[in-house]
Symmetry: C2
Subunit: 206 residues, 2 copies
DNA sequence: ATGTGTTGAGTAAGTACTTAGTCAGATCGT
DNA sequence: ACGATCTGACTAAGTACTTACTCAACACAT
């Protein structure tokens, strides 16, 4: 669909937007700064995309796709493992600088979503899909008897909101101590409230 | 401290910045748009504050103070009631348009915090103070025997992160259904994990 | 008269986006 | 085979406009 932009050009553009966002933030983003993050000229970006906003949307599409793929890539048949790993992925890795930049950028676009329809549409679709994905894991666990009979949708939403809030404080403000504590509580919650009696968390999340 | 700006002028300025942020977002905020939200001229704002950023910081100071006051204003001696009401306040009221605008604006400033030291300093101090406040309530509850022997700091951080994530998705994306579900789960969490055996939630939070 | 508050009319430095053109390589008629 | 022509990718140098911020001048209370 609408693949007017060649892959190699889009990769270059998305990379430059990503680096510029990490360095300056969305509010201070200019097309000049984007171009400065690549070897190409400023006009190069306007040759492939019509407006500055389209550049950012291209980055956002890439970022949401990447995040969705990371969730989908969890390769385990065990619902218990899948749920713990999924939450771990959603909270994010604040040691990794690239990851941090991408997460902060997505947050800034999220908070600008009320004023930008393209951001709003893409981000709410993304959040919905993550909730669906988590709810599917929860449903699977209930069927297999590993989980209690909780409401899958509500549980999924609850877990995602906790993860989102944590990435905000940790990635944007650097409150890593809070991040550690919340991660711990979150896994405690899964163990005590979602897992059925007698089921233990995966070894890595003790 | 540093009350160079008269109260009446500051109120006018903070109000105009608040309305401009609600209407356009931080990324698209201009001093012209701020002035358009008041009867005063653009130069009026530069007479009282040196830079555009100072105007936004004045708003941020007002907003964090307002939020902190709301938490502190909870008037109950019962730790159970105080904890439930505090969480209710933190998740926010997404029916109220003003409240929504303020919360979205604070979120946008939060996600810009990595690129703005003034934002970073104010917002991390604010988050810390909220965690402290919540932790104090939890400690009180433990002493009184109404709560289990949980870690006050970790529990406080966990609750705040969940509330923060929820306001994000709900206020910025309008996912009110998710908000309802999470609120419900959050109160369930308090009831089943924080409250001691036999202690019931306040009537309003059944 | 002096100081405090306020403004209309600026200005220099950006801002997103355009234009007119270069250039490498595919396609073509002969 | 070989030049002519076309096409998509790319850019240097703009353009029209917006931006944050300034300043001389005015109002008015003390």
């Amino acid at each position: 669909m609408s693949d007017a932009v060649p892959d190699v050009a889009r990769a270059e553009i998305v990379g430059a937007v990503r680096r510029a966002l990490a360095k300056h933030g969305y509010a201070r983003l200019t097309t000049k700064k984007v171009a400065a993050e690549s070897e190409k000229s400023e006009a190069f970006f306007f040759y492939h995309y019509d407006t500055k906003d389209d550049l950012v949307v291209a980055f956002l599409d890439w970022a949401t796709e990447r995040s969705a793929e990371r969730l989908a890539a969890i390769d385990s048949d065990d619902p218990v493992t899948r749920l713990f790993v999924a939450c771990d992925v959603l909270v994010g890795d604040y040691e990794d600088e690239d990851d941090r930049g991408i997460n902060v950028a997505m947050m800034e676009l999220l908070s600008h979503a009320p004023h930008d329809e393209a951001f709003h549409d893409r981000l709410s679709a993304y959040k919905r899909s993550v909730i669906d994905e988590l709810a599917a894991i929860v449903s699977l666990g209930i069927e297999s008897g590993a989980f209690r009979d909780v409401d899958p949708e509500a549980t999924a939403a609850y877990l995602l909101m906790t993860a989102d809030g944590t990435t905000g404080a940790v990635m944007a403000l650097g409150m890593t101590d809070v991040g550690e504590k919340v991660r711990e509580r979150l896994f405690d919650y899964l163990t005590s409230t979602v897992l059925a009696d007698g089921v233990s968390p995966p070894a890595a999340f003790a």
